[in-house]
Symmetry: C2
Subunit: 190 residues, 2 copies
């Protein structure tokens, strides 16, 4: 069903690997090593797309025959961008900030294949509403799940699910990869 | 973190088992054997709650000390209730009916514990929007995934994810168990 062979995922995220497997895609993995922490003077949507493109392009140059997939996920509330927390303290601050409010999760995705002239990038936005989080819930979560590899400091696919009142948009986008949008864009390439 | 020991899940759904494990609950499983196919002259919301209660009560009588969890999920579009498809043909009809539209997934949940006077039932509604499905996509899906144990004939957690444009509400409710609402109701019992 998937129209491309020779696919590379340019991401070290285990969630993205699981999601591509879920929809039956065979792929290999190459890590771009792009420094995501560089503060870029771009609006959030453009930043997620920009970083996804940087990741994909860096790998695409090395593997020009293959379809390379790059992705980058950020969390945005009140125009403040939340990436991955660097410490317990930062994690606690992020979750306290998100408590009881609705934030946006933005994933940028870039598809690159030099030999087939494929160079397309897009983004998907999902709104996520949290219940009020108590300090003890936040501390329990950070201690138990150590969410330091996750934008916004939470995983909607682990215990934290009990705190997510609702979402509006694509669930898998919140996990790090917008499956339905990706499928649509892939089918527009062929 | 979970305030009850001695929990029984009165469901044979592997998704519900996975979801309770995801939020760290220890439980055993007892199957009620309630006939879900009985056509009940009730509005959809009440039907899902009614069936969840029947399942939980039947087990609760045998295990009066334990907290018994019953659940029932249905899919509703244009006042038509879709349960589990009984054949390839019915599966095809269901997915064709849902194609390109927004339907509701309703999960009823019942919590029963005779010795602690716990007798509470609730339901959660999530709106799910499908992309247009081609006949070949539907046939591929039925052939490959055999979705006969799933209300509405799809699993949002498998390949079918590529066809789900968006949801509005709790994702886990679509999988068969509304984790956040469940957690909230449990904490109101103590």
């Amino acid at each position: 069903m998937f129209p491309f062979n020779n696919v590379i995922l340019a991401s070290k995220s285990p969630r993205r690997r699981d999601l591509l497997k879920q929809i039956g895609i065979n792929f290999s993995i190459e890590i771009s090593g792009i420094d995501e922490s560089i503060p870029l003077d771009l609006p959030p949507i453009l930043m997620a797309e920009y970083l996804s493109k940087e990741k994909a392009k860096k790998i695409s140059i090395k593997f020009p025959k293959q379809l390379v997939i790059g992705a980058d996920t950020i969390v945005v509330l009140d125009n403040k961008i939340l990436g991955k927390p660097k410490s317990n303290k930062e994690s606690f601050e992020m979750l306290s900030f998100l408590s009881g409010k609705t934030h946006k999760v933005i994933t940028g995705v870039s598809l690159q294949c030099i030999n087939n002239n494929i160079n397309t990038s897009f983004h998907e936005i999902t709104k996520v509403t949290f219940n009020e989080l108590s300090d003890s819930d936040i501390s329990y979560y950070i201690e138990t799940y150590k969410p330091f590899d996750k934008a916004g400091s939470y995983g909607i696919q682990d215990w934290f699910a009990v705190n997510v009142e609702k979402i509006d948009g694509c669930f898998y986008n919140v996990m790090g990869f917008p499956l339905a949008r990706f499928w649509k864009e892939i089918n527009e390439l062929i």
